[in-house]
C-alpha cells in the first residue's frame, strides 16, 4: 500500500514521477507517535533540570551543523527533548501540567522544543475561581471563567491534580477522600471533579478532563481511583469518554501500607472493561534513576519524607502547587518492582487498547526514552519473564504478570502509542494515515509480517528506538535515527467561543488584584507570543 503526501497532508495520490519515493517495503509504517502525558516544559520541569546537574553530566548531545547541543537523561533540555522524541518516531507531545500564572514560561519552552507538535494543559482543579463557583454550584459562570483561562493561557485541556488537595497543601494539609471538604472553601473533591466534568462538556473541549487522582502514590488508593471514575459515570452520554485518569499505575495500589502493597490493576481493569466513559494512561515505571515532578505538592512532600532526597516545592498563588523529588526505581525493591508490574498489568488487563495508552508519565515513572522497552514488554511474554526473573522475589510472588499471556500485536502497539492517544485528545488529524490526516509518519525497521515480536523482542526494541524515517508535516526530519532537518512544531491551543465573554472579564478584573499579584492585562498570552500557533476553535454551549 502506498501513502501519498502533499503539502503536509496525506492525500489520495500524487504524481509518482515528481514525488520523492521512500521504499518502506518490509518495514513497519505508523502514524507519528502521540504522547498524551509527558512533562517536557514549564516551571516544574525546568526546576527539575536546575535541581539536578548530576542527572545531565553524563548524557550530553553535542552540537552539530544542524542541531543545537543539550543534555539528556531524565529531564532533557528542550532541544534534546524534541530531537529524542523525533528520533523515536514521535511527532505530537502533550505537556500535561501548567500553572496558569506561569503559562508564558511553558510556552517559551515549548517554542524551544523543536521537531514535534505540542499543547499544554492548564491546572484548574484548585483555582480559587473554580473552588468558589463550584461551592456555590455556579456551573455556567465557572465555565465562562475556564473558557477565558483556556484562551488566556493558550491551553488545551482541563488538568485536575489531587482536586482540593493542592489548596489544602498551601497551608501544609491534604484531603483524604472524595468527600473531604477543602479547608476555607467548603467544597469537596467530588464536587470539583463533577463540576469540571460538566464544564468540559459545556465548553465542548476536544479532550476530557485529565485527572490525577486524590491519594496518588498511597497504598490502598485503587479505591479512590475507582471512586473517581464512578463519580462522573452518570455524566457520560453514549460511549464517549468523559474522564481520563492519567498515570493510572500510581493510583492502582492495594494494601494498607508499603509492606503490604499489592496490585489493584485487576479491579481497575475490570471496571474499565465494563465502562466506556473512562480512558487511562499507564504511567509505567522503569528501573532507573529519574526525577519525579507533579503539581501534587503534598504527594511530593510525602515522597521527600520517604526518601530523604532533595525536595523542591513551588506553590502558585490562587491556582496550584508543585513538587520535585529525584527518585531511583530499583529492581530489588519490592515496592518499586510491584509498581513496575502494576503498570504492565493494567495495559494487559484492559481489553480494549483504545482505552489505555502507553506513557511513563515522563519523567515520573522514567524518561520517555524507555518507550521501546515498554513496547517489548507489552509484545513479549519472554521479555516480561526476563525482567521478572531479575526483580525482588517478594514482588515477583505478588505479580499478576506470570498469569497473563496476552501479547500486543503491532496494530495494538500503534493504538496505544498513537491512534488511541490522538482519539482521546480529539486530534482528528493525528494518529492515523487516512486521507486528510497530517503527514506525520514513522517508519521502523522491523517487518511486522515476518518478525515474531514475542521471541524477537530485542529486534523490536531496537527498531522502535531509532526510526528509519520520521516524517513531520510532510518533511523528512529524521533518517536512520539522525536529525536531518530541524523543524519547529506547532502549538495547539483552544479558543473557546462563548456567547458572553465581556461579563466574565469584568468580574475577573474586579477580583484580579485581590487574588493575584500581577495586573489583569499582563496575564493573558497573546497569540503572537507563540512561535507557531495552531488555534482550534470550539463553540461552547454558554
Amino acid at each position: 500500500m502506498d501513502i501519498a503526501i502533499k503539502n503536509g497532508k496525506i492525500v489520495k495520490k500524487v504524481n509518482a514521477k515528481k514525488a520523492k519515493i521512500i521504499d518502506a517495503l518490509g518495514m513497519t509504517v505508523m502514524p507519528g507517535g502521540v504522547d498524551i502525558h509527558s512533562h517536557i516544559a514549564g516551571a516544574e520541569v525546568n526546576s527539575g533540570r536546575l535541581l539536578r546537574p548530576e542527572d545531565h553530566v553524563n548524557d550530553v548531545e553535542v552540537k552539530t551543523a544542524l542541531t543545537r547541543s543539550g543534555v539528556g537523561y531524565s529531564i532533557p533540555s528542550t532541544f534534546t527533548t524534541g530531537y529524542r522524541y523525533s528520533r523515536m518516531g514521535y511527532t505530537t507531545i502533550m505537556n500535561p501540567s501548567m500553572p496558569p500564572l506561569e503559562a508564558r514560561h511553558t510556552h517559551e519552552e515549548l517554542d524551544d522544543t523543536p521537531m514535534v507538535d505540542k499543547a499544554t494543559y492548564p491546572l484548574l482543579g484548585d483555582w480559587w475561581f473554580v473552588l468558589e463557583h463550584l461551592r456555590d454550584d455556579l456551573i455556567e459562570e465557572c465555565a465562562a471563567h475556564i473558557a477565558w483561562m483556556m484562551t488566556a493561557t493558550k491551553g488545551y485541556a482541563i488538568k485536575i491534580v489531587n482536586p482540593g488537595g493542592l489548596e489544602s497543601w498551601s497551608f501544609g494539609r491534604n484531603v483524604q477522600n472524595l468527600d473531604d471538604p477543602v479547608p476555607n472553601f467548603n467544597v469537596t473533591p467530588r464536587e470539583i471533579l463533577r463540576g469540571l466534568c460538566k464544564i468540559n462538556k459545556l465548553l465542548n473541549l476536544p479532550h476530557t478532563i485529565h485527572v490525577h487522582t486524590n491519594n496518588l502514590g498511597k497504598p490502598g488508593n485503587y479505591v479512590t481511583a475507582l471512586e473517581t471514575m464512578k463519580c462522573v459515570e452518570d455524566l457520560a452520554e453514549g460511549n464517549r469518554p468523559v474522564i481520563h485518569i492519567t498515570h493510572c499505575q500510581f493510583c492502582a495500589y492495594k494494601g494498607s501500607d508499603w509492606r503490604t502493597l499489592s496490585s489493584g490493576a485487576e479491579e481497575i481493569a475490570k471496571y474499565v472493561n465494563h465502562h466506556d466513559h473512562v480512558t487511562l494512561d499507564m504511567g509505567q515505571v522503569i528501573f532507573t534513576d529519574t526525577t519525579t515532578m507533579t503539581a501534587d505538592g503534598p504527594f511530593q512532600y510525602g515522597l521527600y519524607n520517604l526518601t530523604g532526597n532533595k525536595w523542591v516545592n513551588h506553590d502558585v498563588e490562587t491556582e496550584t502547587t508543585s513538587g520535585i523529588v529525584p527518585f531511583r526505581y530499583k529492581r530489588k525493591s519490592s515496592v518499586h518492582a510491584t509498581q513496575w508490574s502494576i503498570g504492565l498489568e493494567l495495559a494487559l488487563l484492559v481489553k480494549d487498547p483504545w482505552k489505555i495508552y502507553m506513557t511513563t508519565d515522563h519523567p515520573n515513572g522514567g524518561p520517555f526514552t524507555a518507550y521501546p522497552k515498554i513496547i517489548a514488554w507489552l509484545m513479549s511474554q519472554v521479555a516480561r519473564k526476563k525482567t521478572l526473573s531479575k526483580i525482588s522475589k517478594r514482588a515477583r510472588r505478588k505479580s499478576l504478570l506470570p498469569s497473563i499471556d496476552r501479547e500486543f500485536s503491532f496494530y495494538e502497539i500503534a493504538v496505544v502509542t498513537r491512534a488511541g492517544q490522538a482519539k482521546a485528545l480529539g486530534l482528528t488529524q493525528k494518529g492515523h494515515l487516512g486521507i486528510g490526516a497530517d503527514a506525520d509518519v514513522a517508519v521502523f525497521n522491523v517487518n511486522p509480517e515476518q518478525v515474531d515480536a514475542s521471541k524477537k523482542y530485542k529486534t523490536v526494541r531496537r527498531a522502535f528506538k531509532k526510526a528509519v524515517y520520521t516524517i513531520k508535516g510532510g518533511e523528512i526530519v529524521v533518517k536512520d535515527g539522525q536529525i536531518v532537518k530541524p523543524v519547529f512544531g506547532k502549538t495547539f491551543w483552544i479558543d473557546v467561543k462563548t456567547s458572553l465573554p465581556m461579563e466574565v472579564n469584568d468580574d475577573l478584573k474586579r477580583k484580579f488584584r485581590e487574588y493575584w499579584t500581577v495586573e489583569y492585562e499582563n496575564y493573558p498570552i497573546p497569540e503572537s507570543f507563540l512561535h507557531v500557533p495552531a488555534q482550534i476553535s470550539v463553540k461552547a454551549e454558554i
Binding site: 535541581l51 539536578r52 546537574p53 548530576e54 542527572d55 553530566v57 532533595k310
Partner: protein, 272 residues
C-alpha cells in the same frame, strides 16, 4: 614509560582526559600522538601540545606516564584511570585523578581543585598545596570520594572531602573551612590547623585536627577526651577532644581536636 613535555605555556584550559595509563597502554606510539585533546574550544592532538618521549623501562612492571613542566592548566589528568602511574613534575590542573579506580598519581608541585573527586580506589600524592573540593562529589550529587587515599604534603583549600563516603584524605599542612562538609563516611586527617567549620553537616566518618581550630560548630557536642586516636591503623598521640556531630543533620560523625593546641575550647570540659 612515556614522558610528556608541554610544548608551550597554556592559556586556555586544556582537557586531557586521555592522559591515563589505561588509554596509553593499549595504543601504539602513533595512536598516542594522535589522541584528541581540547585546548579551549580548539581540538588538538596530544603531539600538538606535548613532546612525547617513549622510553623502555623494564624496572617497573606498571605503565608509567611522566609529565615534566607546568601543566597547571591541564585538567582531568589520570581521570578514570585504573592502573599504572602518573608522575607530574610540576603543577597539575583541576580534576586530577577524577573518578580514579586504581593506580598512583604523584605530583611534585601543587594540584588544583577537585583533585581526586569521586575517586574510588588508588592513591594520589601531592607534594605541594591543593585547591578546594578535594575528594568531593559533582555538583548536586552526594557521591563523593568512595575509596582510596589522597595525601597532601602542603595546605588544602575549602570543602575538602565534600560528600566523602570512604577512604582517607591526609593533609600534612593546614586546611581551609568546611573540611568534611556533608561527609557520609571515611577519614580526614589534618596535621596542621583548620580554619574552622570542620565536619559541618557530616553524617558519619572521622575528622582529626592536630593543630588549631578557631571554634567548634554549636551543633557538635563534646563526648570525651581521648589520649590518642587511630587513623588508618596509625596511632596519633593526643590528647584529643572528641566531638560528635553534626547534630543538626542527625549525624554521628567524630571530630577529634587536639587539646593542647586548642586551650580556648576547655570550657567544653564542664559538659563532660
Amino acid at each position: 614509560m612515556i614522558t610528556l613535555h608541554p610544548k608551550h605555556p597554556f592559556k586556555a584550559p586544556v582537557d586531557a582526559e586521555c592522559i591515563s595509563p589505561d588509554v596509553f597502554a593499549e595504543k601504539s606510539a602513533k595512536e598516542i600522538a594522535a589522541l584528541q585533546i581540547w585546548e579551549g574550544n580548539r581540538k588538538r592532538t596530544l603531539s600538538g601540545l606535548f613532546k612525547i618521549k617513549h622510553e623502555n623501562d623494564s624496572s617497573s612492571k606498571e605503565f608509567t606516564i611522566r609529565i615534566c613542566g607546568d601543566v597547571s592548566k591541564v585538567r582531568k589528568i589520570g581521570a578514570k584511570m585504573s592502573k599504572g602511574n602518573i608522575i607530574v613534575e610540576g603543577d597539575a590542573g583541576m580534576h586530577l585523578g577524577e573518578e580514579m579506580k586504581g593506580g598512583v598519581i604523584t605530583v611534585t608541585g601543587n594540584a588544583d581543585s577537585w583533585t581526586g573527586s569521586m575517586m574510588k580506589e588508588g592513591t594520589i600524592e601531592i607534594k605541594g598545596n591543593v585547591g578546594d573540593y578535594i575528594g568531593a562529589s559533582y555538583r548536586g550529587s552526594t557521591q563523593g570520594m568512595s575509596g582510596g587515599k589522597i595525601i597532601i604534603h602542603g595546605d588544602a583549600g575549602y570543602e575538602v572531602g565534600c560528600f566523602m563516603r570512604k577512604g582517607l584524605i591526609k593533609v600534612h599542612g593546614n586546611i581551609g573551612k568546611f573540611a568534611g562538609i556533608h561527609m557520609r563516611n571515611g577519614t580526614i586527617f589534618i596535621q596542621g590547623n583548620s580554619e574552622g567549620r570542620a565536619g559541618a553537616q557530616m553524617i558519619s566518618g572521622k575528622i582529626v585536627v592536630c593543630g588549631h581550630i578557631p571554634s567548634i560548630l554549636p551543633t557538635f557536642t563534646i563526648d570525651n577526651v581521648r589520649p590518642k586516636v587511630k587513623v588508618n591503623g596509625e596511632k596519633v598521640e593526643g590528647p584529643f577532644y572528641r566531638f560528635i556531630g553534626d547534630l543538626a543533620d542527625g549525624g554521628n560523625g567524630k571530630l577529634f581536636v587536639s587539646k593542647t593546641k586548642n586551650t580556648h575550647l576547655n570550657s567544653y570540659e564542664e559538659y563532660l
